[in-house]
Symmetry: C2
């Protein structure tokens, strides 16, 4: 099993990379910057997809699918957006390979098959989608359009890390069209709220809802809402964004609608997305030096049963005792896995499921059979206790709930202990270097100050929290008047 994991205190970054691979979540592929999401990792992502998809549908959205490619001329139509993504684009220039005459059995790009216009592999789909919406929208009757797509996108990042930053990643992107500014803004906020609820309730990760400063805004957006989480190393992670796009894309793609009153106006837009990056947040928030720790709501297996036996007779007896336990758990909608492989010892399995973060482990051996008990072990606390088989379902139900809450509360306490209000730049720097975390500080609202702080400390404005207090003060950097505190942090 090769359980030995670098510890978080030794090297947090190495711990993360090792954990992702050893817990069978993902690995780097032969193609630079692209990852393979392994079945166990994908099963977690599938759970996340299913829950989010339901929430999107409950809020009135439908799924659709738009092309992988966008032609260069469409791509460049919204200039800010194009500029934001131009430097990290995969570009398709040819549509055929041919046999290489110099190297038998090898292929080369066929120079005769050059595209007249290059195609960009979508880094995001606003351009493609708004070019399509132009044909779908004539009148106010066609609005709103509330669509989402689950898709892969490509951004040619130079430094990649599994889940956190990869050239290709999976995500969902909502793209909505509205008749009024107010309605689009309401949608932007609603979806940011949907993300916050999902991340807190299912991923057990507390988040701060806020808006981005101008320099951290999505390219082409008027306002970017976001949810920000805090990792165990004191760095922040942007977990989701929801953009109010104003009429920027409608203007770039000439999308107008006849109003009820007989006028002709540009359509208002939003877009919002979360990606496989959430997997990185999930891993980094809860896991420990023994491996992954998964919140029960997202764990592919909530309970694993490991039989402990010598010889076929004991094995048969245990399997007979386990069968009704499995049935009862499944009936209670608990995801249970029975690991009866006889190629591996119980100790090996214990280590494996600890590394993989299964919330509860049931061990059952000959003595348990005699006593009508099992051993129930919790992954988050590593505590064990003996439980009567008769009480098992209710015990497991309540313990899973307890774990879900405990993980959330632990992460919330951590964040509380790592959120510091500071009033001078010296203290700002000291807190950042010693303790890390979120730093709440007055900012004068200028990009110049933001940039200067970033250059001096690597900390950026993560967001201007929605629930900030109404207060005024003095900018920690410039000393100028500031009308709000914002959250700074180093970030992923």
């Amino acid at each position: 099993m090769g359980k030995h994991l670098t510890t978080r205190s030794e090297d947090y970054s190495k711990w993360y990379n090792e954990l992702v691979v050893k817990a069978d979540l993902a690995e780097n592929s032969a193609v630079r910057g692209c990852m393979v999401i392994k079945p166990y990792g994908f099963a977690i992502w599938e759970r996340m997809q299913a829950i989010l998809d339901k929430k999107f549908k409950e809020t009135g959205h439908s799924n659709a699918y738009f092309p992988l490619f966008v032609s260069k001329s469409l791509f460049e139509a919204e200039e800010q957006n194009a500029e934001g993504f131009a430097k990290e684009c995969a570009v398709v220039t040819h549509y055929r390979l041919e046999n290489d005459p110099d190297k038998p059995g090898k292929l080369r790009v066929d120079p005769k098959a050059k595209l007249e216009e290059e195609l960009i592999v979508r880094p995001t789909s606003e351009a493609i989608i708004w070019n399509t919406y132009r044909n779908w929208i004539q009148s106010y009757r066609d609005l709103p359009i509330l669509l989402n797509q689950w898709a892969n996108v490509v951004r040619w990042e130079m430094r990649t890390r599994l889940f956190l930053r990869t050239a290709e990643f999976l995500w969902q992107e909502g793209h909505t069209a509205h008749a009024t500014e107010a309605e689009a803004l309401e949608e932007t906020k609603r979806m940011n709220g949907v993300y916050a609820d999902f991340v807190e309730q299912y991923m057990a990760i507390p988040v701060i809802q806020g808006v981005k400063s101008a320099s951290e805004r999505f390219a082409g957006a008027v306002e970017t809402y976001c949810i920000e989480a805090l990792m165990q190393d004191g760095k922040a992670l942007q977990a989701g964004t929801s953009h109010f796009l104003g009429q920027n894309f409608a203007k770039a793609f000439d999308v107008k609608f006849a109003t009820k009153e007989g006028g002709l106006e540009h359509v208002w837009a939003t877009s919002w997305g979360v990606s496989t990056r959430l997997m990185g947040a999930l891993i980094m928030t809860h896991s420990d030096d023994n491996g992954l720790v998964l919140p029960p709501e997202l764990a592919p297996h909530q309970v694993v049963i490991v039989p402990i036996y010598k010889g076929d007779e004991q094995r048969t007896a245990i399997e007979a005792a386990v069968a009704p336990i499995i049935e009862a758990l499944r009936k209670a909608d608990i995801r249970v896995h029975f690991d009866n492989r006889d190629t591996h010892k119980p100790g090996f399995k214990f280590n494996e499921y600890e590394l993989k973060g299964v919330p509860l482990r049931i061990g059952i051996g000959p003595r348990d059979l005699e006593n009508g008990t099992v051993e129930l072990a919790r992954r988050d606390t590593l505590s064990k206790k003996s439980v009567a088989q008769a009480d098992l379902v209710t015990e497991i139900q309540s313990t899973l709930k307890e774990i879900q809450e405990a993980l959330f509360n632990r992460a919330k306490d951590f964040r509380a202990n790592h959120t510091t209000e500071v009033d001078t730049f010296d203290v700002f720097k000291e807190v950042l270097e010693t303790k890390g975390g979120f730093i709440s500080a007055f900012w004068d609202g200028t990009e110049a100050t933001e940039t200067a702080i970033k250059e001096a400390t690597k900390a950026t404005i993560r967001c201007i929290p929605l629930d900030r207090k109404a207060e005024t003060g003095t900018c920690i950097y410039s000393g100028k008047p500031a009308h709000q505190r914002v959250l700074f942090a180093k970030a992923y």
Copy 2:
């Protein structure tokens, strides 16, 4: 609504193209050969995905995700496969755009950002996956590997048609690795059977299971199993394939495993897939000159309720009567949609849902309120009847079942009437031109004969049916001895 649809007898191909667009299923995008799958079309695909995904999991498979790109050197490793797809590949050569100095506001490919090795957008993922499996498989204990992925793939087709043949399409591809030939073959057949069951039971399309002749085989496969369906214009459509890949990919990518007995052997492989092409089969099998006809199992809305009223008072009364109907139908797991838009008249809505193929339509007006009835209209037969509201749930349940069976039986009868045994090439040609459909004929088993028949008639061997009779005869073309009848047809 623009309901007027070209009829099938006027121009089948035009009827299909119009129907796909007018029923809001899909449309061509600005990017050549790529389609936009619209929400209504995507909702049908989502139903298909959900059912198939469940079947894959029930047969022991897990989902995973592999990269979109494959480097040229990996792509060319399995020569047959590479040769099969090289001529229709989208090739990424650059990873950055830059501002065009000659055209302000425009972008161009940055010549400095040329990739050292070109990347192919996956046309299928055997190469990527087997290159990955090499690291996952050491011993027989690591086998079998039973994975599937839902993904987009790109094949640069020159002539495209919505759903049937597009440059980018969505599909699932299963890729499994086995210790023995027998086990891999069994898997190949099992998954072909899973496809057949799905297509018949849910899509209501009867299929023939068979194997492909050598020339129609998947590039790199030892044997290709398939399911073949027959469209209303007498052309066949390959609805799914399951490939026994032998050790071809294991050899190309050097994937060996230590056997239980201490040997070292190449791994055995299968791959299998169905795609958004199934949408084309669904549309063409059941629809009529009035529009789409959907089997209830796949219809996003199984029942639509259209209120008929004048003025707010009637409207309120009808909505009050409809509420408990909707509740009762939802409780019975029936997908019901209440179209209470007041921007459109009932007649418009009737046409719309006819065009969109909703299996059952409920009309409810003031007289129905008095009588405690509704009008229930069937899309497949266009018949209507009055039903007591008290009986509605059971009536709808049984009618949905009836429709599902009726569509399947109608398609099966059509196929029976369009499958002809012929014994001479003259009759072969005559049947093909007059009646079309499947032609069952003796074939001598040679590629030369197959090619000659194809060149003379455009008919290809769709498959060698699994359930063929054991019989021998004379090849209709060459006159040589033939040990089996095979199915010919013109095909999509």
